[in-house]
Subunit: 290 residues, 2 copies
């Protein structure tokens, strides 16, 4: 049984066909206007025999199954995409059932099925790149809630004597995303994150903010593992810094050997690397079809 | 069908017998040494014909069903209670099945069944008193995770020019509980919270910390409602302050009418008042028996 998958991002669409990591065929192209972008995706799936298509989408999106705008992109500032019925457009054009969730929930589901979340009932996937977003598996199921909880806009302690930078979030200034996403790093140091040397002082500061963000998820969701992806986390030196800083800020409060004795396994990169999202969309499609 | 219930607190035990709010009989007594306290509870249930007993306990507790110390109080500093097998002691003495969860999860379950959480799939119950603790219903089920996520130790922005108080949490100093639980209010103003006048400046500060804590739960759990209980929340003037402050700090980020148009229904007191915990323990027992 083969499924279709779309990882719908604000800058590119990644489309896939397959049943899992071993037979995945994929293609990608830039995100332009909605009709044109959908047409390229539809052309990829046409004649492929997929039984269902899973979409993990950039947002905000409407995920309420009872809503008349389920499957729509909602209040995005992205030109042309506001109120666009992405799930409907794909489903009507290809003529198969469509399963729809956020990009980060899809990535979490991909890791749950084939990656670093296998066998876990509770874990969090976070991407730190041009923004910060999170998806969570809670009690074996994807977390949804009232609206998708994003996780990028957590408020954190911000020591302005150490870091006078005001933050770049248009809503909150110095929330997690405002302090620690790629644009914040670039703005604070006048250098793209990818150009900062591995021993730059900015990484210790970055690790501090990431650790505070994770600590707030530990005390609210109590995951068995964190999977950290996204462009900023390609800086491999961040992982040991974040692990040490997480233990330091929690200061012995969480008395679990999963943290205290196995921190290297508690905070890990995505096992599926850049394929977590598209494989998660395959898993979404398979779930909806079965 | 009648069930037994224990709300096991660090200062008192509340025991109940019944099937719900309409027929609940209850008694309470101080929490002394474990054997003596358990004997008083057992005497209350003896001959009552209860089919199962639910316990909502102070913690930390071991909630992992597969653990050899499931149902135990674990690393508490409370004299005599460390490593005490509370669920086992009750179950053996009364001879019925025992369901066991945290005090805050029991209160959340009580509100889910008979109170302000009825009909909701996702909500958070928080008690703000001598400590801060939270229980959550996620996707219609109680949240557990790796260890119970407590929610009291969320890190918050702390503006030391506005509030130079260092916080009283022994682990973190100025986390949510360290800044906003009853002992923090008492220590900051040298006056018990219950003695501060309703127009004291401390309430605006308190509302700010509570709102920041709720905002961090909005962005991680996305609840449909908050239910705020505990001694500090008996100050009824806090509710309008917290609601206004929550909208102010979120600053339009969460575009849901549930917040924007119905904030009075979004942050509410427990409908069951002080009976949420013991009624939740009744519900725990009923769930385990059916």
């Amino acid at each position: 049984m083969r499924y279709g998958a779309i990882e719908a991002g604000g800058t590119k669409f990644v489309c896939g066909i397959g049943a899992g990591p071993d037979d995945l065929q994929k293609t990608e192209f830039p995100t332009t206007m909605p009709e044109q972008t959908v047409e390229r995706a539809v052309a990829f799936f046409r004649g492929s025999g997929v039984r269902a298509i899973g979409i993990g989408s950039f947002g905000p999106v409407d995920l309420r199954p009872e809503s008349s705008t389920f499957g729509h992109i909602t209040s995005t500032p992205k030109l042309g995409w506001r109120d666009f019925d992405l799930a409907g457009a794909i489903g009507r054009a290809v003529g198969v059932p469509v399963a729809f969730d956020t990009d980060v929930n899809a990535a979490a589901l991909g890791e749950a099925r084939w990656g670093a979340g296998r066998g876990l009932s509770d874990f969090v996937y976070i991407t730190i790149g041009t923004g910060i977003g999170g998806g969570a598996v809670v009690g074996g199921r994807l977390l949804h809630g009232l609206v998708h909880p994003e996780m990028g806009h957590i408020f954190l302690p911000h020591d302005r004597t150490r870091d006078p930078f005001a933050g770049v979030c248009p809503y909150h200034g110095d929330c997690f995303e405002g302090l620690a996403a790629g644009p914040a790093i670039q703005s604070r140091w006048n250098t793209p994150a990818s150009m900062l040397s591995a021993d730059h002082a900015g990484w210790a500061l970055e690790a501090n903010y990431i650790a505070l963000g994770l600590a707030n998820l530990v005390t609210t969701l109590s995951p068995q593992r964190f999977i950290l992806g996204g462009g900023v986390m390609k800086q491999a030196q961040l992982f040991p810094l974040v692990r040490a800083e997480l233990l330091r800020v929690l200061n012995g409060y969480v008395q679990s050997p999963v943290l205290l004795e196995a921190i290297d396994e508690y905070v890990v990169p995505p096992a599926l690397e850049d394929r977590a999202g598209v494989l998660g969309a395959i898993a979404l499609a398979a779930q909806s079809y079965t």
